[in-house]
């Protein structure tokens, strides 16, 4: 086989891949900062949504995160914002729960998910998430004997969100007083 025939395509592919990698690197470094700012703004907005009475949230770093819990924030009104990533139908369902000093849910939002559009994705609609506001103790969907009305045909997603809320409530019951 002719060596030129082998080397030329390899070199061209190498050049194209290198140019692409350089372009991606450049775009990534330019957009990294704006993306971070956007993500922080989104997170601040959803924290405010799950706990309207608080204005400042500080992440608690010296805490053991059990189960699917991903982060815990202490609010300036004595409550906590807990984020969890319970497993849903299409992967993790990132859930953010606000719990006040008495252990009552002040709000819940699904912040990120990969559930079926038109079905499980309805977890981001007020009809579903507003059910959690004002609840405490242990939550379950109606099928499991609880009072959360699940999204039609999306029991798995609904159970995931409820389990995220439960993990947050359990963490608060066990450790809330310590912080």
């Amino acid at each position: 086989m002719n060596t030129k025939e082998v080397i030329k395509p390899a070199v061209v592919l190498l050049i194209i891949a290198s140019v692409a990698a350089a372009a991606l690197g450049a775009v990534q470094s330019i957009t990294a900062e704006p993306i971070k700012i956007q993500e922080e703004q989104t997170r601040a907005a959803s924290m405010k949504a799950v706990m309207p009475d608080a204005s400042n949230f500080e992440e608690i770093t010296d805490v053991e995160l059990t189960g699917s819990l991903t982060a815990i924030y202490k609010a300036d009104n004595g409550g906590f914002v807990v984020t969890a990533a319970p497993g849903g139908f299409g992967g993790a369902v990132d859930t953010m729960v606000g719990i006040d000093a008495e252990g009552v849910i002040t709000g819940l939002r699904v912040t990120k998910h990969a559930e079926t559009p038109g079905l499980g994705a309805k977890a981001t609609e007020p009809d579903f998430y507003e059910q959690f506001t004002g609840k405490s103790g242990t939550l379950a969907v109606t099928k499991d004997g609880g009072e959360i009305v699940p999204i039609t045909s999306s029991t798995i997603t609904s159970r995931a969100v409820a389990s995220g809320a439960n993990e947050a409530l359990e963490w608060f019951a066990a450790n809330g007083g310590a912080y």
Binding site: L13, I16, A20, A23, Q28, T31, Q38, L119
Partner: protein
């Protein structure tokens, strides 16, 4: 150079990616549970398709035949990733609704198919018009599928309720099987009219 209008009509109707070429079926079936989802996916695919066609066409004389497929894939994946970064950084609202679908574009064989069948053999201007035509054709296909499925499955069009509450919804249509039923029926109907026209 071929007539731009002809290229657009070709993509929209004669060689419609969804109903005639039947390619890119994975996103077609997966995301068309509502009209908005279908059109969003269609338009983001169109944007990538136009950019990828342009670049593949510009590079067509440099790329050796033996490594053309890996080269095309690098070009396509780069564009998809750049678009994802830009949307995340500067258009968070659009990213919130389309973000789920953007990584799916990389694996859409429609883009690779057009790079292989058209852009690698034609000039940049014709390739851009082919991208516009095929992109709009794909959007049309996904939009129609989404409209029909949303109407039968949820009783809404573009999230606006059109069927009276008492009318039963066939939820199956917004689930996976509904995608196959709808696509099959639409293709049968289109073929019927096409054959009738020929006869």
């Amino acid at each position: 150079m071929a007539n731009p209008l002809k290229l657009i009509k070709n993509g929209l109707i004669d060689e419609n990616p969804t109903f005639v070429q039947v390619i890119g079926m994975c996103p077609t079936l997966a995301v068309t549970s509502s009209a908005i989802n279908g059109i969003g996916m269609g338009l983001s695919t169109a944007a990538v398709l136009i950019c990828a066609n342009l670049f593949v066409s510009l590079l067509r004389k440099v790329i050796p035949d033996k490594v053309r497929i890996p080269c095309f894939i690098v070009v396509i994946a780069t564009f998809v990733t750049v678009i994802e970064f830009l949307l995340k950084a500067y258009l968070p609202a659009l990213n919130a609704s389309l973000g789920l679908y953007i990584p799916l574009i990389v694996v859409n064989c429609l883009i690779l198919a057009r790079a292989e069948a058209f852009a690698s053999k034609n000039g940049p201007v014709a390739s851009v018009f082919d991208g516009i035509g095929m992109g709009l054709g794909f959007t049309l296909g996904l939009g129609v599928l989404g409209l029909v499925r949303e109407f039968i499955g949820a009783g809404t069009l573009f999230d606006i309720t059109v069927l009276p509450e008492a009318f039963p919804r066939t939820l199956l249509f917004v689930m996976a099987p509904g995608a196959f039923f709808t696509l099959g029926c639409l293709m049968a109907a289109l073929n019927y009219f096409r054959n009738k026209k020929k006869a």
